[in-house]
Structures are given as C-alpha cells and as structure tokens.
C-alpha cells in the first residue's frame, strides 16, 4: 500500500480512537487506559485497512475475525466497533455500567462485532485456534487475528495454544503481541522475564516478525508478509508504548488500570486534540 493519503487517514483515525478511549475510561471512572492507547494503531490498521468485515452484517460468514485476548483493553475495540457502526456511539457512554452490553471485558453474546469472550488472560489464542481449525474444516478462507499482551505470555495456556496451532498448521491465524514491557505490577523483565521473545515463538514453529507497532506501514507489511507464508501460524511482535499519545501516560505502568481524574482528563484530551 502506502499512499500518503491512506496513512494520513489511519493516523487521524487513531487520534480519534484515542480520544474516545480516554473519554470512555474517564466517564466510567474505570477501565484500562494505557494498554488501550498503546494498541490503538494495531487495531486501527486491522479494522480500517487489513480486515474484510461488514459492520452492517456482523455475522457475515467470510469476515475476518479479531479476538481481543488481552480482554482488559476493551476501550480500544469498543471505540473502533462503534466508529465502524457495529453499534451506536452513544452506547459507549454506558461502558462498564449495569444494563450495558459493553462489559469490562469482551462478552461475545452481547456485543455486536465481538467475536469471542475473554477476560482471564491466556484464553484468546486457544479460542482463535479452535475457530481457525473450524475454518479449515469448512474450507473457508478468512483470517483470525489475535491481540495479546506481553505480560499475558506468562500464562502457560498461551504456550499450549502455540503448540496446538503449529500441530494443525493454522496459517490462517496471525497473533499480535503488544510488546510494551509493562504489566500491572511493573516491568515485565523484572516481574517474569520474557526476552528473548522471537526465538521462543520460532522454536514453537511459528513465523515471527518484529515491528514498530505504531508504524502503519510496518504493521500492514508484516501482515501481508505473514499471509504469504503458508503452512504455519504467524506472530507479529509489535513494539508499542503503553499510554501512547498522552505524554504523561506513556511508559508508565501506573496507567494500566487507573482512570484519569478531571485534570488529567482535560490534559489528555487537550494533547490528543492538538497534538503533543
């Protein structure tokens, strides 16, 4: 790809989505803001460029699927789904409120466009692998994208799923690891070291790419290359900045699950509106 117009469109979309994320978490006074901001560019690249999907027909059988395994980052996917038209934007006002279909963590039966429920970490790659296996059995061609956190890779089930996807040659599956080195309690390498990550995945039989997760050209190229590689699942380790786009939230573990107060909300929205 990569006409300038398209890149500008995606960048602008990300900026809008980030504003919606901050508004949602501020209004709910609850939710995970840092990881949602950090993953915004990945999710925007998928929904506004890479994925085939029809918001007016969420059950269209040939649609590409997106599974949010790091389930706490619902603000980013809800913001994108609402913007795409899966449900009214006003619904975002009731995020995490009783009676709302927008649960704190994704709940597939209730929310149009949510493909799989998640919440406890480590479920998403397994679920997507089951779906991708099902697509192979049905001889369907769509892709299954998963977004998981880097801290999430500390869950043993992730590596069970990595073995399974390799066994069944699920080349219709592309996993993004949101590699920001931060988890709830601090730096991933002091809490439970993950590096070196690429050889771990390679040794499990996956094709591995490492990119800047805020560079749309890299994100799109990595997915297109992964799709061309047949016979094994693909992982894209996307280096991101937790809290990206709001200067005082960037790279601060404390913004994992803490909502902003009124002053911080104003500052954040000001930065996102005017550029840092």
């Amino acid at each position: 790809m990569q006409q300038k117009g398209k890149l500008d469109f995606l960048k602008e979309k990300s900026r809008e989505i980030r504003k919606t994320i901050v508004e949602m978490v501020y209004r709910a006074n609850s939710g995970h803001i840092g990881g949602s901001l950090g993953a915004a560019d990945l999710v925007v690249a998928l929904y506004y460029h890479l994925m085939e999907h029809r918001p007016a027909a969420p059950g269209w059988s040939e649609r590409d699927r997106f599974i949010l395994s790091k389930g706490h980052c619902t603000p980013v996917i809800y913001a994108v789904l609402a913007d795409c038209g899966y449900f009214p934007k006003e619904d975002l006002n009731a995020f995490r409120r009783p009676g709302s279909h927008l649960q704190g963590h994704p709940y597939q039966p209730k929310t149009p466009g949510i493909e799989a429920s998640a919440g406890t970490l480590g479920l998403g790659i397994s679920t997507a692998a089951g779906m991708a296996l099902g697509a192979k059995l049905k001889r369907e061609k769509q892709y299954y994208y998963v977004l998981c956190g880097d801290g999430e890779l500390q869950e043993g089930q992730v590596w069970e799923a990595a073995m399974f996807a390799n066994k069944y040659k699920l080349d219709n599956m592309i996993v993004f690891v949101d590699r920001n080195y931060l988890q709830t309690d601090g730096n991933s390498e002091t809490i439970m070291p993950l590096d070196p990550l690429p050889p771990k995945w390679e040794s499990f039989g996956w094709s591995v790419r490492e990119i800047d997760g805020h560079d749309f050209t890299r994100i799109i190229d990595a997915v297109e290359m992964a799709k061309r590689e047949k016979g094994r699942p693909a992982v894209i380790i996307a280096h991101t900045i937790k809290g990206k786009g709001v200067s005082f939230m960037e790279n601060v573990a404390g913004w994992h699950g803490t909502p902003p107060g009124a002053a911080d909300f104003k500052r954040a929205m000001n930065e996102l509106s005017n550029g840092i």
Binding site: A116, S117, T120, T127, A129, G130
Partner: protein, 313 residues
C-alpha cells in the same frame, strides 16, 4: 448381574450421533484410550482432535469450534476438566453459554487405583455453581448413552459425568431420557431415596431391604443434577416427609445439597446425605472404596432407619 462401563456408553452414543450430526467433533487430551474416544478416532479420524496433555487449551479450542458452528465434545477426566481447566470451563464455555459438551470420565471414588489425585469427588459441586451449565450424571451404560444423545440435541454447555469402572446395568433407568426430568423408580410414602449416577443401583437395593422390613420406600433417580427436577423433590418432601440422597461425590455441593436447598425453601423435611464425607479418597479397588467410604445400600438403609424410627443402627 451384568456390568458395563458408563464411559463406553458415552462413546457408543457419540458413534451413533456422528452419522446424524455432521458438525459433531470430538476432542481429547491424551487420554483417548481411557475415555474410550479412541473408538471414535478409529471411525472418524478427521473429526477427532487429540490436544495432547493440554486440558486448558482443549476447552478454549472447543469454545472456538463452537463459535464456528461445530458441536464439540471435549473429553478428559473429570478432575482435569473441572479443576485443572476450571477457568476455561467457566470463562470460555459457561459464561458465553457456548454449545460445548464436556465428556468427563473417571469421576468419583470408583476411579480406584489412581487414588485421590484422580478421583473427582467435587466436580458436580464446581460445575453446578456455574450459571448456564447443565449437569448430567447417568446411572449406567445405557443411560450414559442416552444422556450423551440428549446432550447433543440440546443447545448450550453440558457437563456429562461418567466413571471408570464397569457398573451394574439398571434396566429401570433405560426409558426415554429427558434433560431436567427425574425418574420415579419405585412408589412409596414412608420415605424417599434420591439417587444420581451409579448410586441408583445401591438405592434400589436399599429400597428392597427396607421393603422387607415393612417400609414403602419411594426411589427417585436424578440423571440430571442441574437443572434439578424440583417438582419431584417437593412432591417427595410433601408426601414422604423424609429424604435420603445418595451420590458418588462429596456430600458438599452435589445432589444432596441441591435437594436440601429446594426442600428448605419449599417444604422443610429431614434430608440425610449419603456421599463421600469431606475427605480425599485413596487407592483401592472400586468395590473396596465404595465399602470403605460408605456408599453402599447398607449405608442408605442405616440413614433411612435413623429417619424412620429415630434409632442409630
């Protein structure tokens, strides 16, 4: 007396269903020879997926297959399905109410020689507590087969509980299987024995012994523990005034507490629970363990007599 394995009933049910339901697939976690799904693998190799020793992954994979319109039967031992993979059972399957069936074998104390680590005496308690779950505990081979068939025709998550051993064939439970319906096996008004799973055999034996002593004993069998047939429970409480429950499971959280919960709200009467007391099991032959842990007709009779005449045998 004829003896047959309930786990064989599970797989024989799956083999019948395979021809009827093209979306049916079977998963196992490296215990296919033990769960008997190896028979399904031999007949339908392309509809069988061995997940290796990965119960957690298997249950989430099953959820994914259900989301794509398949009808997965995920098979492993009860202790692995509910304890090792309890989170996946809860969050991947029960919470979104996906159409996944769990075929749990080697449940209860009759798992025998492997000992307490493999004897799931808590699985009914765990799965009962999850909203959306249906819990089926058949009493013999044929009822196991019918329960499997009924589970396949029902939309939603179902936990199917089977044992390891060969258990007595109980013709009284071979009628039409309907999820949520108890079976009235003997009429009586003095007291009621309520059974689930393989304890139906001991319950009927106990009723026969009590009859010889002059009591008219009602026997009601519950192959569905959840949703519980509350009408059958309330009728028994009202009409017989005392209930003995019998299950090859802990007295905590199983049929006994489910029955007691209904009775206390609707028509209070004494409920004595026969089951494994609050202890872990141990290695031994199934029959030795049924004796040692108090899961025999004689134990049911003793409890019944305490209620009927107020004396301790």
């Amino acid at each position: 007396m004829e003896y047959k394995q309930t786990r064989q009933g599970y797989v024989d049910g799956l083999l019948e269903l395979a021809a009827e339901i093209p979306e049916l697939v079977v998963l196992d976690a490296d215990v296919a020879k033990a769960t008997k799904t190896v028979d399904f693998q031999a007949a339908h190799p392309h509809r069988f997926f061995n997940c290796g020793v990965q119960e957690q992954n298997m249950l989430s994979v099953a959820a994914g297959l259900a989301l794509e319109g398949f009808l997965p039967f995920a098979s492993t031992f009860g202790v692995f399905a509910t304890c090792r993979a309890g989170d996946q059972l809860r969050n991947s399957i029960a919470y979104p109410s996906l159409n996944v069936k769990i075929g749990a074998t080697h449940c209860g104390i009759t798992t025998g020689g492997d000992g307490a680590s493999h004897q799931s005496n808590e699985d009914i308690a765990i799965v009962r507590a999850f909203p959306n779950m249906t819990v089926l505990v058949p009493g013999d081979y044929e009822e196991a087969k019918q329960a499997t068939r009924a589970a396949a025709r029902y939309t939603g998550p179902v936990y199917l509980r089977f044992g390891r051993d060969a258990y007595p064939v109980v013709p009284a439970v071979h009628g039409h299987f309907e999820i949520g319906k108890a079976r009235l096996l003997r009429k009586g008004t003095d007291i009621t024995i309520m059974t689930t799973g393989i304890m139906v055999h001991e319950g009927l034996l106990a009723a026969g012994i009590l009859e010889e002593q002059g009591y008219a004993v009602r026997v009601v069998h519950f192959p569905t523990v959840k949703p519980l047939d509350e009408r059958a429970v309330i009728a028994a409480a009202r009409e017989t005034g005392g209930i003995i429950t019998a299950e090859e499971h802990s007295v905590i959280g199983g049929l006994g507490e489910a029955v007691a919960g209904v009775v206390t709200g609707a028509c209070p009467c004494p409920v004595i629970r026969i089951g494994v007391r609050d202890v872990f099991g141990e290695s031994g032959e199934a029959s030795e363990l049924l004796d040692k842990y108090g899961l025999r007709a004689v134990d049911i009779v003793g409890a019944a007599r305490r209620l009927l005449i107020g004396v301790r045998d």
